[in-house]
Symmetry: C2
Subunit: 276 residues, 2 copies
């Protein structure tokens, strides 16, 4: 059965969006639609142009017999900026203030549309880097980690605070929490991370950076390297930060419990233009 | 700027896929592309036909001034069946056997492509039911819950075993774990679930069903109701199960630690045809 161009465009768009970062050969599409490779090439030029005009991402073409196309996720800078500014407004709402100066963000991280957008922004920022795996710490970072992993088409490994029988044998390290200065443990299943992996660390919140620093130490145990570090919210503190090269979307610069005021501003994403 | 049909088809496909379950008006598309509503209607017929032929899902049309189209996720039955059969093969691999008869599944649940496919199958099964929220238990159920939530475009609430300051005030219940018969606690942030919500419970694994039963009791505390229960793997046991109306993709019928044999078969998804 032959497909018309219009049907091919709809199905190819769906297929490419469902397989980000993956090289798809012209032959695959040509067989899928019983269409000539020349027609497929024309389809792909239309998709490429639309993806780029509408800020959906880009299509990278790899020439040659083993070649094909690869969809690389993107987001227009202005869309990312206005989304982050909107998020700042949402986070600054006084009802979010919890005893002890903590912020309630559970509802925000429970919205797939928000989580996906954050994931898209982070994935787009690291789309040109070599990332094999996303790492996060249970529990709150998990949704963001999967959203990023989805767009980069790589697996997720989850570091835990406790040892569970279903993880098999594990590697554990002790680290000092940056803000409470307490000694804590983190555990990662031995089978879950291959040696030499390039790991992008993703988390929802960073205070002094003790947890993220712990994940970096854990990576050393696996002979893996840090491809990047990204957080949704960083809390600005006068003390020295344990982690220095990271991407943050939002900065929490202060919480005034008495006046119920939360000071939120743009993260370093706005200044790290070279990452895009 | 006017858009050609081919460009509209690519961008509309992306837009609909990114907004499942959401009613989008013809006016919205007509303004987005500076095109007549009659052209948009034709575009949508092409997309609808392709989505249905290729098993991507369906487009529901709501007529009238407040009307529009809604993308409802789907999956061809044969694709779901062959995917689940493939998963059964992966899970039955002897290296997955851990001491105590537990199974290592962390790597499987770390693959976004697998998690999304499971999420798609579960979402499609419940796409005709009224679901306001997805509920799961930390930690392992989280990725699946978000995958389902993504396709149904609803938020996720995460039940925890411990009370965290960042959750604000919480409601907690005690329940008896079905397999270990121990009394355990589960906690849910008070603000996270609105009264009267229709909740779809999603988890990775169900043994006797104590945890899921606990979540059902927790829903009562919030005057919320169960829209459905779905698990990736159910463990078949001779004892009476605490939960009876659920959807499972895979059944683990027995683990022989001595002979390193794992018996895995199709879940009740294959027989619950009415759900589709």
């Amino acid at each position: 059965m032959k497909f018309r161009r219009s049907e091919r465009l709809v199905d190819m768009t769906n297929f490419l969006l469902e397989h980000p970062g993956q090289l798809v050969s012209l032959t695959f599409f040509s067989e899928r639609y019983s269409s000539a490779k020349s027609s497929i090439s024309e389809d792909l030029s239309i998709i490429k142009e639309t993806f780029e005009t509408r800020g959906i991402g880009s299509l990278h073409t790899v020439p040659g017999a083993a070649g094909g196309v690869r969809y690389v996720v993107g987001i227009p800078r202005e869309e990312a900026f206005s989304f982050i500014d909107e998020m700042c407004g949402i986070i600054a709402s006084p009802e979010r203030l919890l005893p002890g100066g903590y912020l309630y963000m559970t509802d925000i991280l429970g919205q797939p549309q928000i989580v996906n957008k954050v994931g898209r922004i982070i994935a787009a920022a690291f789309s040109e880097k070599k990332v094999d795996v996303i790492m996060t710490m249970a529990t709150k970072g998990i949704p963001l980690a999967y959203a990023v992993a989805n767009y980069l088409n790589v697996p997720v490994v989850i570091v835990r605070r406790d040892n569970k029988v279903t993880e098999g044998s594990t590697v554990s390290i002790n680290y000092v929490s940056g803000s409470s200065k307490r000694i804590q443990t983190m555990v990662l299943s031995k089978r879950s991370l291959a040696e030499g992996s390039n790991v992008l660390i993703v988390d929802d919140f960073m205070k002094a950076g003790g947890t993220i620093n712990g994940m970096v130490s854990l990576l050393e145990e696996f002979n893996a390297s840090v491809a990047g570090i990204s957080v949704l919210v960083e809390s600005e503190r006068s003390e020295e930060r344990l982690v220095d090269n990271y991407l943050s979307l939002i900065t929490l610069s202060g919480v005034d419990e008495k006046d119920k005021k939360i000071n939120v501003s743009r993260g370093n994403y706005f200044f790290k233009t070279s990452l895009k």
